[in-house]
Structures are given as C-alpha cells and as structure tokens.
C-alpha cells in the first residue's frame, strides 16, 4: 500500500504563499517565499527553493558553455603549439629547435585549423547522439545524479584533453578525437536534465518569461568562457583548460549537494497554478500554450500542467493523478518523437541552431578575416550577439506569455531575423554599427532559438495528451536539442565549405535560407494557433 503523508489531507489552498511541509506545520520563516509583495501575485508562488534551483541549473549550463567557448578562444594558441614556426622565405630554421621547431603534429596552421574544425564537428555530432540517449536516461534515473555525472565527467575529459596532453607533451590526433567524442556524450547529459528540473519546478504560468530569462545561460556561459580564457591564456592554453575544467567539476559537486530535482523531494506538492497565482484565473492557464484545438476542450480541474512530477516512480505520485491510479511512466523514445509538435519544432530548431552556432563558431574568424580586425577585438564584438540573444529570449518569452501563444511570436521574430541578416551582411567597416547590427541580429535569431530549446520543449514535454501518465520532459528536450545539434554540426562543415569555395556573402544567403526554412517548418503550428486566437477573439466579442 502506498504511504500517504499527512500533509495531503490539509487544504492546500489555505495559504498559497507558504509551502507546507510533511509534518503539517507551516514552515518557519526561513522558508517564506523570496518575493512576496501583495501586488506581485506572479512571483509569490516561488520559494527560495525555486531561486536556488534556477541559479544552480543556470550555472551548470553556464559552466558547460564556458568550457566550449574556452576551446574556441584558445584555438589560435593550440594551433601554434601543434605546428613548427613559420619561416618567411628561404631563411633557415630558427634555433634552438626545442623552442621553435619541435612540434610537428601539423605542418602548418591551415592543417591545424582544419583539424580543429573537424573536432568541432565531431563534438557536435556526438553531442547530438548523446542528447537523444541522455533525454531518455534522464527521465528514468535520478536527474541530480545524471547532471552531476555529466558535469564532473566532462570536466575530467576536458582536463585530459587540454592540460594533461600539454604537461606530458603527448600530441596525438586519435587521442584528441576520442576524448572529444567522449566529451560530447558526457556534456549531452546536462541540457535535458536542467530543462527537466526547471520544468519540474516552474509550471505553466510565467514559463515563457522564466525560461526566457533562464535560457540566457548559454550566452552568459559564452561571455564567462571568453573572459576566463582571455585572462588565463597568457600562462599557456593548458591553464585555460585547467581553470574551466576545475570550475566545472566544482559546479558538479555543488549541484550534487544542493540541487532538488523536483519539489516533491521536499514535499512541495503542487496543485494547479490557478490556486497559487490569482492573476491568471481564466481557463487559458489550464491549456498548454501549443495545444491544438481539440485539446482545448480539456477542462479537468485537477489535471493542470502545473502538477509537479518527480522522475522516479514513487508511491506518492499516486496522489498527483488520482483518476488514473498509475505512477508516471517514462515515455518511450518513438512515442515522444510522435507527440504533436515535436517533429516540426525539432526540424525548425535544426535550422535555427545551425545559424546560431555558425555565428557562435565563425563570427570572430569572419570579423578578423573580412574587416581585418584583431582577434581580441573580434572576440569582444561577438559578445554583442550573445547579449542580443539574451534580451531576445527574455522579451519574446514574456510576450508569448502575455499572448498565450508562442508560434506567432516566433514567426514575427524569424521574419525580422531574415531582414536583419541581410542588413548585417552589408555592414560597413565600423565597429559601433557592426556591434549594433550584431545585437539586433542576435535578438531576432537568439530569441526564437532560446524559446524553442527551453520553454517550448517544456511545453511539449508537458502536453495534456500525456495526461500526467507519462514522463516525457527530458526525452522531448533531448529530441529537440539533438536534432538541433545535428543541424548545427552539418552547418559547421557547410559554412567552411561555402566560405572556402565562394565567399562570405553566399554564407549569409545560406543563413537567410535556413531561417526561412525553419519558418516553413513551424508554419502549420502558426496557422493553427492563429486560428485559435481568432476564434477566441470571436467568442470574446460574442460574450460582450
């Protein structure tokens, strides 16, 4: 028989701002919500647990992206380490040989750059494959363990890749490739888990805004990685790897000791958000934001998206879905794939992530080769793209929350993104104008990209069609991001191919085409959501 904790009998609506503990007493002052002015009904549902979870998951992904950015930023130093000195003309080799000629892993920096690009592609492919697998694993195992394992394991591999090989002066192509494949697989464990944890803690109301703010983690990670790399690089690139992998390992340890993967772990069982946030009282909050019309008929009082599901099959879960009597089962991979909305959003995300990651990887190179700016300047300018992405993700998430619909916001943003790409490709040789255009482009591309990978994945993983009987959040996130990463991996190769055969303008045309294609993929969703918006407006007009 299942153990029923005593607090289940207490009316949970009695004091919505104070979560109740298992003993049945209101929590001591330590546990009062972080922000509780009476006007901010939206924020009063959040406790300090929410804040800590937000920050821990945020910084897990920040550290991951920081280590990737470190690799991008030290590429010049690594290729200098792997090649002998460049001799101008017919002058004899520099002496002494140990200082100038010894390392001949690659003959010149062009070959080294090709190999580094190949490493990026290998990483992205193994990351994509790992995402499909990790999403499935995350829904079956303890999210906290998988997350810590991914963070710490990836940190150890990066340490081996960058620091140990340099200390031992062991340079070997196959060793580097194997390590980077392993790194991709381990890092892929992080994203589905953090989105699942966030989905567990933050329900439908305000999800767009919270996730928009939270998905700034990738961009913050880029900025942090650039900062770390540039400050430590002078000691040697191996120390850049040492610092980022040590910090990442420390992050894994902190997550292991401090993360609560779902509110159930401290007994914060939730009812619908309508009880917690009086602002949103209408029936709209009961419907997932991407629903088709037929699911709009669901009006079950208990079955709301706000239900917090823990990942394990525990007996307490029976209280969450009393009408079914079954604990949530982790969904199968193909079932998750066939959920409505997963396939079009995955394909759209593949195109968007291609454009996004190509900017991420190639922008400093484009800036320094096209305008002749120095690498440090180009690195600093590329931060503006990330800043635009952060603002875009947050603002667009907020707008989509107010509208109650996500696809129209995406559509408008993608159309404007195509325009801003055209504008950026004709950017003059002026750093200020270039930075502004970069920020605008980042706003319009980064916004939808962030939304699809976080808020929309959470929506998809918590649809009503699952009816609370299936745990799909991490799996769906894994599928969406995995498809996206395959697109990004293919894009790396294509961008370098186009650039070497043609020039940079065709690369921009390629980006614009990809943005248009992603708009096409979510076309059906846009049409159905616009139709439901029109219907709602009509019914409201009739009601007046």
């Amino acid at each position: 028989m299942s153990f029923s904790p005593p607090f289940e009998n207490l009316p949970l609506q009695s004091n919505p701002s104070l979560p109740v503990r298992a003993e049945g007493h209101p929590l001591p002052l330590l546990e009062t919500p972080v922000m509780s002015p009476p006007c901010c009904g939206f924020l009063s549902q959040y406790t300090h647990h929410h804040l800590v979870t937000f920050l821990l998951t945020f910084f897990s992904y920040v550290l991951l992206h920081a280590s990737r950015k470190t690799f991008s930023n030290v590429k010049v130093s690594i290729s200098a380490q792997w090649t002998p000195s460049v001799l101008n003309g017919s002058s004899p080799a520099y002496s002494p040989g140990q200082t100038w000629e010894e390392n001949k892993l690659f003959e010149d920096s062009q070959e080294a750059t090709l190999f580094l690009g190949a490493l990026d592609t290998i990483f992205l492919f193994s990351y994509a494959i790992g995402l499909y697998v990790s999403g499935v694993i995350g829904d079956r195992l303890n999210l906290r363990y998988v997350l810590s394992f991914g963070l710490c394991g990836s940190a150890i591999v990066e340490f081996l890749f960058g620091t140990v090989t340099e200390w031992l002066h062991f340079y070997n192509i196959y060793f580097y490739c194997c390590l980077w494949v392993l790194n991709g697989l381990l890092q892929s464990a992080v994203w589905p888990c953090v989105v699942a944890v966030m989905g567990n803690w933050f329900g439908k109301s305000g999800r767009g805004f919270v996730f928009g703010l939270w998905s700034a983690c990738a961009s913050v990670g880029n900025i942090l990685g650039a900062f770390l790399a540039s400050s430590v690089l002078k000691y040697g690139y191996e120390y850049a790897f040492l610092v980022t992998s040590a910090v990442q390992f420390a992050g894994g340890v902190v997550v292991f000791f401090g993360l609560l993967s779902s509110p159930k772990e401290v007994g914060l069982s939730m009812t619908c958000e309508s009880a917690m946030s009086p602002v949103q009282n209408d029936s709209d909050s009961h419907r997932p934001l991407i629903s088709d019309e037929e699911y709009a008929q669901e009006e079950e009082g208990v079955m709301c998206d706000g239900g917090y599901y823990s990942v394990q099959r525990s007996d307490q879960d029976q209280d969450q879905a009393p009408e079914l009597g079954d604990p949530p089962v982790a969904i199968g991979f193909f079932q998750a794939f066939c959920l409505p909305g997963v396939l079009p959003y995955s394909l759209a995300y593949a195109c968007l992530k291609l454009v996004n990651y190509s900017f991420f990887f190639w922008l400093p190179f484009y800036l320094s080769s096209n305008f002749g700016w120095k690498e440090a300047q180009a690195d600093r300018l590329s931060v503006w793209y990330d800043v635009g992405g952060i603002v875009g993700g947050t603002v667009q998430g907020l707008i989509s929350d107010f509208l109650g619909k996500r696809a129209p916001v995406l559509a408008v943003s993608l159309l404007l993104a195509m325009g801003s790409l055209v504008g950026y490709s004709h950017s003059p040789d002026n750093q200020v104008i270039n930075a502004v255009l970069l920020a605008v482009t980042g706003f319009f591309i980064g916004g939808p990209s962030n939304m699809i990978s976080s808020a929309i994945s959470a929506d998809l993983g918590r649809q009503e069609v699952l009816r609370g009987s299936q745990e799909a959040l991490a799996t769906v996130t894994g599928i969406v991001d995995g498809t996206g990463s395959i697109g990004a991996a293919g894009g790396q190769y294509l961008v370098s191919l186009i650039e070497s055969r043609l020039s940079w303008m065709p690369v921009f045309y390629f980006f614009i085409t990809m943005t248009g294609v992603s708009l096409l993929f979510i076309g059906p969703m846009i049409i159905s959501e616009l139709r439901s918006v029109c219907q709602e407006m009509r019914t409201r007009v009739h009601q007046l």
Binding site: S77, Y94, T99, E265
Partner: protein
C-alpha cells in the same frame, strides 16, 4: 653487494669534482696539452687545469673547458666537438681534414681564437670574424662577431617575444625575453596555482555545505 657499494662510492667521489671524466673530446688523440702552444700559453695564463688535450677552468661549483688543442692529431674527420662548446680557444691545425661542417661550431659562443688547417675556411665565412689571417699552413680566425648585428644587414628577425642572441660563428638563436618561456615563447609568467585552487576549493566547500543545509537536508531519500 660489495662491488655495488664500491661503484656507488666511486661515482659519488668522482661525480662531484671530476665531471669531466666522461669527456671524450679531451682524449681524441694521445698526449696532453703542451706549454709552448698557443692554447698551452693561454691555459697557463688562466691557471687552468690540464687534462688530456683540454684546459679546464674552475668557476665556483662548475668546471668548464676553456681551451682545446687537437693539433697534429692525424684527424681526418671532425664531427662532434659539442663537449667543448664553452671553449675560448681551439687549435685544430696540422690535421689532414678536408672539410668540416659549419654546424660543428654551433653553440660555441665563447670562441674567440680558432686555428684551422689552411684547407679549411673559417666557420660562418670571413664575415663572421673580426680578423682572418692565413699563412698557407694555418688559418687563424679571431674575435667572433655577433651574428645578430652584421654590419650592412639588419639584425636578425626573431619571432615575437624573443630576441636574437649569438649562437656561434655565423649562428644566431632566438631566445625568449623577459618572463616569456616555453614553446615559441608563447607563455608568460607563472600560473598562480595555489591561489586559484585555494579559492576554488574553499568556495566549493562552502557553497556545497550551505546549499546542502538549506536545500537537501530535509529531502526524502530517493
């Protein structure tokens, strides 16, 4: 056991003050340094110690070769004189050597007086020496020039963070300046490992302890 101990003691005794026992260049041919030769005179003026054909000078803890006299040794080939790279004066005259590679003298930054059979050219060419005289039997190269500052040429172009330094007659090397070190002089300074890991370790411990106390302490075991 006894032989092992003896060997150990022997090597310890000889190792400290008689490092030069292994140097083959001093015994390339029989005999020892003569007083009448240029090298011998030079050695006596420095109060150096003669051993085989080498003149040793003690400088503090270390001893180094300052003179080498291989004249009249019936040497046909001279390939490796690296053990005597600190020599100031070398005499190779009266040897039936036909040619000698320039690289034999790479690293001989102290060399200022070189006597060669007249069949040979001064290493690095005549432009690398201040004074080159030849009397048909012996070629004398004196006062090696700094190859980094050849008159008429620009000083040697070394890559970033390195400076040109002489490396023997006609040779230059690029050695790292200032705090730079490592491959291609890319690295600067010493990484403050202790400081970084101290801060990181203590903050990780504090954060983990704090978060465990506030978050997970009451968590149900899952």
């Amino acid at each position: 056991m006894f032989t092992f101990v003896t060997l150990c003691i022997t090597s310890l005794l000889f190792g400290s003050s008689y490092q030069q026992m292994e140097f083959q260049v001093c015994h390339l041919c029989v005999g020892s340094l003569q007083n009448g030769t240029a090298v011998g005179y030079f050695c006596a003026s420095l109060s150096g110690r003669v051993e085989g054909r080498c003149c040793w000078r003690q400088q503090g803890e270390r001893a180094s070769i300052v003179g080498l006299d291989l004249s009249n040794c019936s040497l046909r080939h001279i390939e490796d004189l690296q053990e005597a790279s600190t020599a100031v004066m070398i005499d190779l005259s009266s040897n039936p050597v036909i040619n000698i590679s320039d690289s034999v003298f790479q690293g001989f930054i102290e060399l200022h007086y070189l006597r060669l059979p007249s069949t040979l050219q001064c290493p690095g060419g005549n432009a690398s020496w201040e004074k080159v005289t030849s009397d048909g039997v012996v070629c004398l190269c004196e006062e090696q020039k700094d190859a980094c500052h050849q008159d008429g040429n620009m000083s040697w172009n070394c890559p970033e963070n390195s400076l040109c330094a002489p490396d023997g007659p006609g040779f230059t090397q690029c050695s790292c300046t200032g705090e730079y070190h490592g491959y291609k002089c890319l690295r600067e300074g010493q990484f403050p490992t202790g400081l970084v890991f101290g801060i990181l370790g203590s903050s990780t411990f504090l954060a983990s302890a704090l978060l465990w106390y506030t978050q997970r302490r009451k968590a149900k075991f899952t």
